[in-house]
């Protein structure tokens, strides 16, 4: 329960931090930290325009997408506190729920019959399929290292496996950071600032959404950041700490995560679309590196 509350709390300021980082780095004053939240709240109170071609799938999809991300948050542990739901193999459910959400988002984009949204959907489907192996090799490696198969147990056992494992954690943090960049279509895979001609994945899929649905989709994006951020944070939070240290550290790591994304988006450039696939394959290779590292640590190699 605690983890869910903290993730929800993080999701409120996460996008604001990214925006603020970007504005400070480009010499602007920038909006307040809570501005994105006000934007979602405004969207939730707005009416909507629906295309004549759409079917009920279009109205259902944002809700499924949002629920999938929310439910994924249920599965994430928080330090010594289990997630709301925790069982063996919960990370498989985690990944497949997110995939189910994406399945409906892609259908939603195809439902409008727009060539732009079809293109976005096609790319979203392809990039997210390429990123999937990276996630599973990563978690599989840690399962091998710790001998456990639920997120909570993996994290719990992880902190007993010595200082070398923190080197792994840094690599894992790197992989997760880039996985979420692909999942949320951020730099270096896609640039959410531009519209249409240059933004070719996520933003182009939701061109026809408006009002409450758009608010749900936008908020789900932020929530996804917070969920992955807490997956990273868990690597660095020792279970023996008391709660009054835990919670500030958690927020600090999330803050750092947001600032890093802000920096990447300020100084980085978007890859050419055709190079994205190669880039995502490198993620899988880094995960494999972790796997071989684990084999070395266990003395199997």
């Amino acid at each position: 329960m605690l983890s869910l509350i903290l993730i929800l709390a993080t999701s409120l300021y996460f996008s604001g931090i990214i925006l603020r980082t970007k504005s400070i780095l480009s010499g602007r004053k920038g909006p307040g930290i809570m501005q994105p939240v006000y934007d979602y709240a405004r969207l939730f109170r707005k009416g909507a325009v629906y295309s004549r071609t759409v079917t009920p799938v279009f109205r259902l999809a944002p809700a499924v997408y949002f629920s999938a991300v929310l439910f994924a948050a249920f599965l994430v542990p928080f330090g010594s506190a289990r997630g709301l739901l925790s069982f063996d193999g919960d990370f498989v459910v985690f990944a497949y729920l997110l995939a189910a959400g994406k399945f409906f988002m892609i259908l939603m984009a195809l439902d409008t019959g727009s060539s732009f949204e079809g293109m976005g959907a096609s790319r979203e489907a392809m990039f997210s399929l390429l990123v999937e192996p990276a996630f599973f090799i990563l978690i599989g490696s840690f399962a091998l290292l710790t001998g456990h198969t639920s997120l909570y147990d993996i994290y719990a056992a992880f902190h007993f496996s010595g200082p070398v494992s923190y080197a792994m954690a840094v690599l894992a943090g790197f992989v997760l950071l880039l996985i979420v960049a692909v999942e949320n279509s951020r730099l270096p895979v896609d640039d959410p600032k531009t519209h249409l001609e240059l933004t070719m994945i996520h933003e182009v899929m939701i061109l026809d959404n408006s009002g409450f649905d758009l608010g749900l989709i936008m908020y789900a994006g932020t929530l996804k950041f917070a969920v992955y951020g807490s997956l990273i944070a868990n690597f660095f939070m020792d279970h023996s700490w008391p709660f009054y240290i835990f919670i500030p550290v958690f927020f600090a790591i999330q803050l750092l995560f947001a600032i890093i994304i802000g920096c990447i988006e300020s100084f980085g450039v978007r890859f050419r679309m055709s190079h994205n696939a190669q880039f995502i394959f490198t993620l899988s290779s880094v995960s494999l590196l972790i796997f071989f590292g684990v084999l070395l640590m266990l003395g199997k190699l």
Binding site: A63, G113, G118, L129, I137
Partner: protein
């Protein structure tokens, strides 16, 4: 009562009766026969699963000997799956075939449907090589006749012959394998195969069986008949073939696995790698297809890959004496046999309904059908979710078991095993992602957007008789997903009853089923969360203004249906990325500069099957060239043939006289 005799009598009764029934009622007669068979065989299977002995002996002539019919838990599971798919399939057929075919053709079709059903059940029961080959052959021949229902079309006949030829290469492998056992152990009973395995190297004979059954199951590189036969056959036949006939190959592999005595580790590794290759190859080809039934056929190849990976994991687990891995591997394979059969039959029936409405199988010509046939769209969506292995439907559960087994397998002591299994994890993840791509494409191109070509005037929902079997399948799917306590409980019973391993080392066999029940509960909770969010959304937006408008065309004033993304454009990036595995066949004519009066330019392209293009067609060309040599002595003149006969007799006499042979 001797049930094999009852079955044989039923088969011949159907053969005699159906031709004399009016065309309108033929389908229902077949349905009645099929139900009758299903009820008897299911009852026997349930008895067998409950622990009862179900054994019959058919006393026949000298050649066949006494044929043992046994239903053990393994056969019982497959028989139940067969019945679950074939009965809805036969139910679906009259609606689908309405308006097609002549009377004689229909009679043959319905008789063969029943025969195919019977032969599949017999395949699961017969425990003796020679009789097994016999019923196996009946199954192949009846399904061949079912595939070529539309035999006026050249392409259908060609696909049917392709199937027939490949099935007989499979039979050659199986026959050779059974005779190897016969020569060494002097008997055709399956127990003799176990005796053979006990005294010889297990790998060669198992591989021979694996190849033979692999043809039926569609394991790469033996899969090339599927993408031809499935589009050619009527949809209910495709559904049954993809759902269960292919699974008979899996049954065969399973049966041989139970008989193995040693070398389980190398065999398990080979099987696992074969599964990975099959899975990735199948889903890659599926995602780029234009023809919806061809796409579904390749998707079957993919799912067979997943099942075979499960068998491989089970073998590795058995070798390691690890009860958990054995259960996860074999269990996921058996469970996926059910889940894939249900979802695939549902999808083929749905594709058939769409075909009867729009008269095309080309995804690039469909679109917007959800508005015309909303119920079929809903059913197809359920099937797509299940087959893509996504929560909250049953496909996810078996994929979960497989995934979980593989993650546990990574922890095996052996490094080589760890590496092979982590590759398996990668393969499952990639397959999962690609099936999301393939099925968003399929559903999107068929049902969403606007029609890409004008629809026929009289289109709408298909006849209720075609929809009802789909509801039944969807309901069973939902049940399998909601109560894995029952569905996977039965599977784990089958595994622990079939494979001899120290199950008592596993602290709690039912604990695994309990975990699955938990996962199922989580999926129900997820559905509840979705419903809650939808309710919240509806409440929040009730008072808000809502408008209808055109899809935003980004400034273009006249959006038209042909500007939409098609299925082909949707998967083009994947086609490019994996281009080395997905050869493209282009057929185009440019307008050249020399054309004084340019003719129309055209451009067509299709993805080719790598195995077919690089292995099968060159091999077929070689055979053709070799047979061209023997053609020289065949010139059609009777005189020559008489002389060949004479020469032959002379040669025999000479050889005997000279005592050479």
């Amino acid at each position: 009562m001797n049930f094999p005799v009852v079955f044989i009598v039923t088969a011949f009764l159907v053969l005699l009766a159906v031709p004399f029934i009016p065309d309108k009622w033929k389908g229902y007669a077949a349905l009645a026969a099929s139900l009758w068979i299903a009820v008897i065989s299911s009852a026997m299977s349930v008895t067998a699963l409950a622990g009862g002995e179900v054994e019959f002996t058919l006393v026949t002539s000298y050649i066949w000997g006494n044929i043992p019919f046994v239903i053990d838990p393994l056969s019982a599971w497959f028989i139940l799956v067969v019945n679950l798919i074939v009965v809805p399939g036969v139910w679906y057929s009259p609606g689908y075939l309405r308006g097609y075919g002549q009377s004689a053709n229909l009679s043959l079709h319905y008789v063969m449907l029943v025969w195919m059903h019977l032969s599949m059940i017999m395949v699961c029961m017969v425990q003796s090589g020679l009789a097994f080959l016999f019923v196996w052959e009946i199954m192949s021949l009846s399904s061949f006749l079912l595939v070529i229902f539309d035999n006026q079309q050249r392409s259908v006949l060609k696909a049917g012959l392709n199937y027939l030829v490949q099935m007989h290469i499979s039979v050659i492998c199986l026959t050779v394998a059974f005779f190897i056992v016969y020569r060494s152990e002097d008997g055709f009973e399956f127990s003799r195969i176990g005796e053979y395995f006990a005294g010889h190297n297990n790998i060669p004979l198992f591989l021979l069986f694996f190849a033979g059954f692999g043809f039926k199951a569609g394991i790469v590189p033996f899969h090339t008949w599927l993408p031809h036969a499935h589009p050619a056959a009527p949809s209910h036949v495709s559904g049954i073939m993809s759902g269960v006939i292919v699974k008979m190959g899996i049954y065969g592999i399973f049966r041989m696995t139970t008989l193995l005595q040693s070398d389980m580790l190398p065999i398990g590794n080979m099987v696992m790698v074969a599964g990975m290759v099959t899975g990735i190859y199948g889903i890659l080809h599926a995602s780029v297809q234009k023809d919806v039934k061809r796409l579904l056929a390749y998707c079957t190849v993919e799912n067979v890959g997943l099942i075979v990976m499960g068998i491989g994991l089970g073998l590795v687990g058995q070798h390691a004496g690890n009860a958990f891995l054995t259960l996860a591997g074999y269990g996921s394979a058996l469970f996926h046999v059910l889940n894939h059969a249900l979802a695939k039959a549902l999808l083929f029936f749905g594709a058939g309904a769409v075909y009867r409405t729009v008269h095309t199988r080309n995804l690039d010509r469909m679109g917007g059908l959800a508005k015309i046939m909303p119920r079929s769209a809903g059913l197809f969506l359920a099937g797509s979710l299940a087959i893509a292995g996504l929560p909250p439907l049953n496909g996810f559960l078996s994929e979960f078991v497989l995934f979980f087994g593989f993650i546990k397998g990574v922890m095996l002591a052996d490094t080589t095993e760890s590496i092979i299994i982590i590759l398996g994890v990668t393969a499952i993840a990639l397959i999962g992602g690609l099936s999301v791509l393939a099925f968003t494409k399929t559903f999107g191109a068929m049902f969403l957007g606007t029609p890409r070509t004008p629809l026929p005037a009289d289109c709408g929902e298909p006849a209720a008789g075609m929809r009802r079997p789909q509801y039944v399948l969807a309901a069973v799917m939902l049940l399998a997903a909601l109560v894995p306590f029952v569905s996977f409980g039965v599977v784990s019973g089958v595994v622990s009853g079939t494979f001899d391993i120290a199950w008592n080392l596993l602290p709690d066999v039912s604990g695994f089923t309990g975990l699955l029940q938990k996962v199922s509960f989580v999926m129900v909770m997820f559905t509840a969360v979705v419903l809650a969010v939808v309710a919240l959304r509806n409440m929040a937006t009730r008072r808000l203004p809502e408008r209808e408008g055109d899809t935003w065309g980004c400034g273009s004033r006249q959006p038209c249906a042909r500007m939409q993304y098609t299925g082909s454009s949707f998967t083009k990036p994947v086609g490019k990325l994996f281009g080395s595995l997905l050869p493209v066949r282009k057929n185009y004519r440019r307008v050249s500069r020399e054309d004084v009066f340019p003719r129309q330019a055209r451009y067509a392209y299709a993805y080719d099957d790598w195995v077919e293009a690089r292995l099968i067609r060159p091999a077929a060309r070689l055979v053709n060239r070799l047979s061209a040599i023997s053609l020289r002595i065949q010139d059609g003149r009777l005189q020559w043939y008489i002389m060949y006969g004479l020469l032959f007799i002379l040669a025999i006499i000479l050889l005997t006289w000279l005592k050479i042979m």
